[in-house]
C-alpha cells in the first residue's frame, strides 16, 4: 500500500500541465503536418503518371512508343518546345525511328528543369525515368520475340541511350537533375537542423534566464535602481545579440568548413559554379545575416515570453508557441517547396518569420533573390515589432502582475 501511495504521488508529479500541453501540441502539429503531407503526396502521386514528350522524329516508331506509354498508364502530353516543359520531358530526336529499324541504340533525351530542392519535388521527374525503362524493355522484348543474332546483340543489351540535360537558373548542363539536386541539397541539408537547434537552445537559455531573474527577484531589485527599463531591456537584447553573433559566426564558419570538405571530395564543382548553384562567399555572408536576424527574433520573443514566466518550469511552457512556429516551417522545408503550397497555407506559413530562414538556402541556390530579400525585409520588420512589444512589456506592470503559472494567463496578485 505504501508503494501504491508512492507510485500515485510520482505519477501525479510526472503527469503535469506541461506534459499534457506538450502532448496536445504534438498532436496538433502532427494532425496539421499529416493532412498537409497527404495533400502533397496525393499531388505527387498524380505527377508520377504525368509525362511530357517532345517528338522531333514523328516516325512510325516514335508514334508506336507514344502509344506504348499511353497503354502503360501514363498521361502523355506531346509538346513542341522546351519552354513548355513543366519539370521534365522525354525528347525523341530525329533518327529515333530509323535507328530502331536498323537495330541501333537510339538516344532519348531526358530534359529536366530544377525549380525546387525539396524532397518531394524529385518525385515528378521519376515518371520520365520510369517511361524510359518501359521503352527499353519494350524494344528488348521485341528483339527477343523476333530474331536474336550477333548483329543485334548490342541493341538488345542497350536499346535506349539516355542523354540527360538539366536546366537550372536558366542555364543548361549535360548532367542529371539528381546529381544537381544532390549537390544543391548537400549545401543546405544541415542548415535547417542547425537553425532549429540554435533557436531551441538560445530561446530556452534566454527565457530560463529571465524566469530565474524574476524568481530570484533580482529583476525587481534592478528595476528599482535609477536605470531606465529600456536600458535594462536593451542590455538584455544586446547581450542576446552578442550570443547571436557568436552562434551565427560559429555556424557559418562550421558550415564553410563543411562545404570546403564537400568541395574537396571527388565531385568536380566547377560545373556547379558555372550553373550558379554553388554558394559563394557572399552567399555565406547573406546566410549569416539572416541567421543573425533569426536568432535575434527568437531571443526577443523569448525575452517577452520569459517575462511572463513565474519560474523556470513555466518558462518551458511559455516558449512552446515559439517552438511550434519553428517546428512547422522546419518540417515543411524538408518535405516540400513552401512557395508551391496552396495560397492560404503559403500565406500563413510565410507569416512565420522562421520560414524565411529555412527557405533562404534554397532561394540563394535557385537565385530567387527577390524572395530571399523579401524574407530578410519581413524578418527585419518582425524584429522591430517584437522589440516594440518587449519595450511595452518591460515598461508596464505586466511583467510582475501577469504570469503563466496556471493554465491560463492569470493575474498574479501579490498583495
Amino acid at each position: 500500500m505504501k508503494f501504491l501511495a508512492l507510485l500515485k504521488k510520482e505519477v501525479r508529479d510526472v503527469i503535469n500541465f506541461q506534459l499534457i500541453l506538450g502532448l496536445i501540441i504534438s498532436i496538433i502539429v502532427f494532425i496539421f503536418l499529416g493532412g498537409f503531407i497527404k495533400n502533397i503526396s496525393d499531388t505527387e502521386v498524380e505527377n508520377l503518371t504525368n509525362l511530357q514528350i517532345i517528338d522531333h522524329d514523328k516516325s512510325e516508331q516514335s508514334r508506336e512508343t507514344l502509344d506504348l506509354l499511353k497503354t502503360s498508364g501514363f498521361n502523355v502530353s506531346v509538346i513542341e518546345n522546351i519552354e513548355d516543359i513543366n519539370e521534365s520531358a522525354l525528347i525523341f530526336s530525329s533518327g529515333f525511328g530509323k535507328n530502331i529499324l536498323e537495330n541501333k541504340t537510339t538516344d532519348i533525351e531526358l530534359y529536366s528543369k530544377v525549380s525546387s530542392l525539396s524532397n518531394f519535388s524529385s518525385v515528378s521527374s521519376s515518371s520520365s525515368t520510369n517511361a524510359i525503362s518501359i521503352i527499353s524493355n519494350f524494344y528488348k522484348n521485341k528483339i527477343i520475340s523476333q530474331d536474336v543474332s550477333s548483329q543485334n546483340m548490342d541493341f538488345l543489351n542497350n536499346p535506349i541511350s539516355v542523354k540527360e540535360k538539366t536546366e537550372i537558373n536558366n542555364k543548361v548542363a549535360e548532367i542529371s537533375s539528381s546529381t544537381i539536386k544532390f549537390f544543391a541539397i548537400s549545401q543546405t541539408a544541415v542548415l535547417p537542423i542547425i537553425i532549429f537547434m540554435i533557436i531551441v537552445i538560445a530561446s530556452q537559455m534566454v527565457s530560463t534566464a529571465i524566469a530565474n531573474e524574476k524568481g530570484d527577484k533580482t529583476l525587481e531589485t534592478l528595476l528599482s535602481t535609477p536605470i531606465s527599463r529600456i536600458s535594462i531591456l536593451l542590455a538584455k537584447i544586446s547581450a542576446s545579440a552578442l550570443v547571436a553573433i557568436v552562434m551565427s559566426s560559429v555556424y557559418v564558419v562550421g558550415f564553410f568548413i563543411y562545404m570546403t570538405g564537400e568541395s574537396s571530395s571527388s565531385i568536380d564543382t566547377t560545373l556547379f559554379s558555372d550553373l550558379g548553384i554553388k554558394l559563394s562567399g557572399f552567399d555565406f555572408i547573406l546566410i549569416g545575416i539572416q541567421l543573425f536576424l533569426t536568432i535575434l527574433i527568437a531571443l526577443s520573443i523569448s525575452i517577452v515570453l520569459g517575462a511572463f514566466s513565474k519560474d523556470v518550469k513555466s518558462a518551458q511552457i511559455t516558449i512552446a508557441p515559439l517552438m511550434i512556429s519553428v517546428l512547422i516551417p522546419y518540417i515543411l522545408s524538408i518535405l516540400s517547396d513552401i512557395q508551391t503550397l496552396p495560397p492560404i497555407i503559403r500565406f500563413i506559413v510565410n507569416l512565420i518569420p522562421f520560414t524565411h530562414t529555412f527557405t533562404a538556402g534554397p532561394n540563394l541556390i535557385l537565385q530567387n533573390n527577390v524572395l530571399f530579400l523579401l524574407g530578410i525585409a519581413y524578418q527585419g520588420i518582425f524584429l522591430i515589432g517584437i522589440l516594440f512589444i518587449a519595450i511595452k512589456v518591460f515598461s508596464s506592470d505586466a511583467i510582475f502582475t501577469v504570469s503563466t503559472k496556471s493554465r491560463k494567463f492569470k493575474k498574479k496578485i501579490s498583495m
Partner: protein, 242 residues
C-alpha cells in the same frame, strides 16, 4: 523632523480586485516606519508602488518633492528596495555583486568605490565576499542584500520582510543593523507580518488589512489605545472591528 516620504491617497487595482485602497501616510527622515498586516493585506503592493516597480491606479507619493507618477526615475535615485525572499546573482562573487550594484546606483567611480566600501563594512562578510554567492547561506545572502540596499545611504530604504526565513541570530543582527543605520539618518519603510519584530524596530507603524490602513502611530500609543499587551493583540482587535 523633516518628511522623507509622503504617500497620498495611493490605490492599486488588479482588474476588479482592489489591492490597496486610498492609503496615506508619511515617513520622517531617520525614522523606521513599518506597515504590518497579514498575508494579502496589501503590504507588498504598497511597497512595490513606492519602489516604482508597479504603477499606482490612483494617488501619488513624494520624496523630496519628486512625484512617483511624474518622475519615477527621480524617486529611484532616492530609494533602494529589497524584495521579500530576494536572491542575488548566484554566478557572481559577493564583491562583484556589490560593485555591480554600486555601478547601477551611480556612474561616478569615486562614489561607486565609496558605496562598495560601505557595503563591505555593513555586511561583515569578510573574505567570504570573494566566494560565489551560490555558496552563501540564506543569512549571508540577506546580509549582502541589506548592505547593498543601504550602501548608498539612500533617503529611504524599503525592505519587504527584512528578516523572513532567517534564524534568530541572523535576524537579530539585521535588526541591529537597521537601527544603527536609522540613527545615521537613513529612513526605513519596512513591511512584515512579524509583529513582535516590528514592535521592537519601528518608530511608527501602520496597520493594513484588505488594502486599507486602519491605524497609524507609535507602537506604544497604539497598544495603549487598544489596551493591548503587544501589536498582535492590537491587530486582533482591529481586525474584529473591521
Amino acid at each position: 523632523m523633516s518628511i522623507c516620504l509622503e504617500v497620498k491617497n495611493l490605490s492599486k487595482k488588479y482588474g476588479s480586485t482592489i489591492a490597496v485602497k486610498d492609503i496615506s501616510f508619511t515617513v520622517n527622515t531617520g525614522e523606521i516606519f513599518s506597515i504590518i498586516g497579514p498575508n494579502g493585506a496589501g503590504k507588498t503592493s504598497t511597497i512595490r508602488m513606492i519602489s516604482t516597480i508597479i504603477t499606482p491606479s490612483s494617488g501619488d507619493c513624494f520624496i523630496d518633492g519628486h512625484s512617483l507618477v511624474k518622475s519615477p526615475n527621480k524617486i529611484r535615485e532616492n530609494i533602494t528596495y529589497l524584495p521579500d525572499e530576494a536572491g542575488a546573482y548566484k554566478n557572481m562573487t559577493g564583491n562583484y555583486y556589490l560593485k555591480f550594484m554600486a555601478s547601477m546606483v551611480s556612474s561616478e567611480k569615486l562614489k561607486q568605490k565609496e558605496y562598495f566600501e560601505n557595503a563591505i563594512e555593513i555586511c561583515k562578510l569578510g573574505d567570504r565576499l570573494k566566494d560565489k554567492i551560490s555558496s552563501y547561506s540564506r543569512g549571508m545572502i540577506r546580509k549582502l542584500l541589506i548592505s547593498r540596499a543601504v550602501m548608498s545611504k539612500p533617503r529611504l530604504a524599503i525592505l519587504d520582510e527584512a528578516t523572513s526565513g532567517l534564524d534568530i541570530i541572523n535576524a537579530l543582527e539585521i535588526r541591529r543593523m537597521i537601527k544603527q543605520l536609522a540613527k545615521k539618518g537613513t529612513s526605513f519603510l519596512l513591511s512584515s507580518h512579524n509583529m513582535l519584530e516590528i514592535e521592537y524596530l519601528s518608530d511608527r507603524i501602520a496597520i493594513i488589512n484588505k488594502g486599507v490602513i486602519y491605524e497609524t502611530g507609535e507602537p506604544l500609543a497604539i497598544k495603549q489605545k487598544y489596551n493591548a499587551q503587544n501589536l498582535e493583540e492590537v491587530f486582533e482587535k482591529v481586525a474584529k472591528n473591521i
